[in-house]
């Protein structure tokens, strides 16, 4: 039971952090379909720090450094989207897809190039970070939690306050609804959209490292982040682009996901003898059903996906 809660919290931390990132981007009017790619790049940078920082590094410093580097890496990668979508008015869907194809390929190529020169001259897509991984764990009673779960709570709260209670948040939201009206009120739409996309990149980078670090001490980069960026997008849509709703959506989805990972620990579930693959499918089906129910009156930002054109009315 405690394992189920633990896994739920771990998955939820990843999903809500990334989904809130996506929310900031879409609220500013840019669809970030490349969240998956940003996650991979964040994960890669963080994992590199974790596996190659000397073991004598103090734990706290290592945690801070890993998180910082991941955030920066995700942010840098999201610049690809920001420049294409905002400056060149490129198609956001294709740009995002390209980023998702590019990131795992680039990450694998980089990891293989590094491992080729260090680990017995054999190229593998794996990075190992067993020691560093332990620094992220916090034990509370029988629960084995990690720093990212605390970060999740902070980020959800911060996102809520920023979006609804600050001038910046309200301005950001206006850019996603009616950018021309925002511009007429003296808001720099271009700048706001850059900030929106960069926040999404930063949070996706953080989510990336949270994902590969939370339950694993090594990661094969050729499998990217196995679709978690897309799941985060689904959670964002389900959460109607609102931080608190996203948080609960993430918890719900993560519960089913965690059930798939831990069902064998429950006597009555084990006795049902349901195929393991069914448990793997369950979260996706739940997600689809929820989307089907909740999409009817979509509350998507009105101007998302449309390049900003000053002259348009």
């Amino acid at each position: 039971m405690s394992l189920l809660i633990q896994y739920t919290l771990i998955f939820a931390s990843v999903l809500s952090i990334v989904a809130i990132g996506g929310m900031f981007s879409e609220r500013s009017g840019v669809i970030n379909l490349g969240l998956e790619g940003c996650m991979v790049m964040g994960a890669l940078a963080g994992a590199l720090v974790m596996s190659y920082l000397p073991e004598s590094t103090p734990g706290f410093l290592l945690v801070i450094l890993t998180i910082l580097v991941s955030v920066l890496s995700g942010m840098l990668y999201s610049l690809l989207l920001a420049v294409a979508a905002i400056k060149f008015k490129a198609d956001q869907t294709i740009t995002g897809t390209a980023m998702n194809i590019l990131a795992p390929a680039l990450a694998t190529a980089i990891v293989k190039a590094i491992t080729l020169n260090t680990r017995e001259h054999k190229a593998t897509p794996y990075l190992y970070y067993v020691n560093a991984h332990n620094h992220f764990i916090i034990n509370i009673g029988t629960f084995e939690l990690n720093w990212f779960i605390i970060l999740m709570v902070v980020i959800v709260a911060l996102a809520f306050v920023t979006l609804y209670k600050t001038r910046f948040g309200l301005r950001l939201m206006s850019c996603g609804e009616h950018p021309q009206a925002s511009a007429s009120n003296g808001i720099n739409v271009i700048k706001m959209r850059y900030i929106g996309v960069l926040i999404s990149g930063a949070l996706a980078g953080l989510g990336g490292i949270a994902f590969i670090n939370s339950a694993n001490s090594s990661w094969p980069f050729d499998s990217g982040v196995v679709g978690f960026g897309f799941l985060a997008l689904a959670v964002m849509i389900f959460g109607k682009w609102k931080p608190i709703n996203i948080f609960f959506g993430a918890i719900l989805f993560s519960f089913f996901r965690a059930l798939g990972a831990t069902y064998s620990g429950f006597e009555f579930l084990k006795n049902l003898e349901i195929n393991a693959d069914i448990y793997k499918i369950l979260p996706y089906i739940v997600c689809l059903v929820i989307l089907a129910i909740s999409s009817r009156n979509s509350k998507a930002p009105k101007a998302e996906g449309i390049p900003y054109d000053k002259g348009m009315r």
């Binding site: 490129a90 980023m99 190529a109 499998s223 196995v226 689904a234 689809l288 989307l291 999409s295």
Partner: protein
């Protein structure tokens, strides 16, 4: 001299030619980035590596007909990619982004293999089965979009994973299909393998080359005709240009969405059949969604969203993928080919911008020419500069 210039200009004004130029530019820049990556990883091997990557089968020595075999390999792998690219582009023309093509591909593979192993069906029935399954799976995405307003990108992605796990589950349970020792599907029955019609003789008896490549080209040409010459194609594009106008003109929007995604899905399913019914690959129940649907996105956009262009872009992408697989693993990993494709699609997103700039320059040049004779031009010119300021 003068006639030459105007010929060049009229060529430039053609939309197809502009697409060709931009696609070639994307491919060249993509390859350049590939070279930079190769250089960073290992400067000394980069020249040889770039040769292997960019020349594909051409870099293979001709000895023992090896080069022919690699050419045949390229053609065999390009066939499903062409069909997958067409699947993406017909949906995109209608304003739908069928990212669920990978899932439709997966269920297509399942249908084809199930019919081949369990029912002992001949290859053409397996192919049709794959198309039907793909179409049904695509129709789910369409119905969710049409009736419940679910974004097709998200539902497509969810269905990709659902399809993957369902397929794995059903194949692994079936001892007629699954070799649990080798952890892959059993060898494909002769009856279900696509016929070669003697083409293999041309390629040093390379056994996987089949009529798949011809089927793929026929499909591409067929959809070119459908898009350009039929009412269905017109409706499809009209919905893509302006769905409200299409609705106002009396087109049934909801029905169209479902039909288009089913059509796209049937092609994605066919793509699965064209790959797995050659025997070149065996289904090993991967833990990740197969990339064919995503590669189709690359092929469609690099092909300038034209079915004919997709034939060539698919051949190019497969070409460098084969090149990537031949890279010296002492220095490089085959993923570098994928990096190149990724960069190319990224650049393809700018095509719209490039085309617009090209048009702008053309118009400006035209106006300059006409401005020598017409008085009304200065006015238009000033309008133009206003636009520029606004930009």
């Amino acid at each position: 001299m003068k006639t030459k210039k105007s010929f060049f200009r009229s060529l430039l004004e053609k939309d197809g030619f502009k697409s060709l130029i931009t696609s070639v530019a994307c491919a060249v820049i993509g390859l350049l980035v590939g070279f930079i990556v190769l250089f960073i990883v290992s400067p000394s091997a980069s020249l040889q590596g770039f040769k292997t990557l960019s020349l594909g089968f051409l870099a293979v020595p001709t000895k023992y007909g090896l080069r022919k075999e690699f050419l045949a390999n390229t053609l065999t792998r390009a066939a499903p990619l062409i069909v997958s690219g067409v699947a993406i582009l017909i949906a995109y023309k209608a304003g739908l982004f069928n990212i669920g093509a990978s899932g439709q591909f997966t269920v297509g593979v399942f249908a084809a293999l199930y019919m081949a192993f369990v029912w002992n069906a001949p290859w053409y029935l397996c192919m049709i089965g794959a198309m039907v399954f793909g179409a049904l799976y695509g129709a789910i995405v369409g119905a969710l979009k049409a009736f419940l307003n679910v974004n097709e990108v998200i539902s497509g992605i969810m269905l990709n994973w659902i399809g993957l796990y369902l397929t794995s589950m059903l194949i692994k349970k079936n001892s007629k299909m699954w070799d649990s020792i080798k952890y892959e599907t059993l060898p494909l029955p002769e009856k279900a393998t696509l016929p070669t019609l003697g083409i293999d003789k041309l390629f040093n008896n390379y056994k996987y080359i089949t009529i798949a490549i011809f089927i793929a080209i026929i499909v591409a040409v067929l959809f070119y005709v459908i898009l350009e010459k039929t009412i269905l194609g017109y409706k499809l594009k009209a919905t893509g240009y302006n769905k409200y106008a299409a609705k106002y003109a009396g087109m049934k929007e909801k029905r169209n969405i479902i039909i288009i995604l089913a059509l796209s899905g049937s092609l994605a399913g066919l793509s699965g059949a064209l790959l797995y019914l050659t025997g070149i690959e065996r289904w090993y129940c991967p833990t990740n969604v197969p990339s064919m649907g995503f590669d189709g996105i690359s092929a469609a956009f690099l092909g300038g969203l034209s079915p004919i262009g997709t034939i060539f872009s698919s051949l190019f992408i497969t070409h460098i993928t084969v090149g990537g697989s031949r890279l010296d693993t002492a220095f490089y990993s085959p993923e570098i080919a994928k990096v190149v494709t990724g960069v190319i699609i990224y650049l393809c997103a700018f095509v719209w911008f490039v085309k617009n700039k090209l048009n702008e320059n053309l118009n400006r040049a035209k106006k300059k020419l006409e401005g020598l004779t017409l008085e009304s031009i200065p006015k238009e010119d000033s309008q133009h500069s206003e636009e520029e300021v606004a930009e």
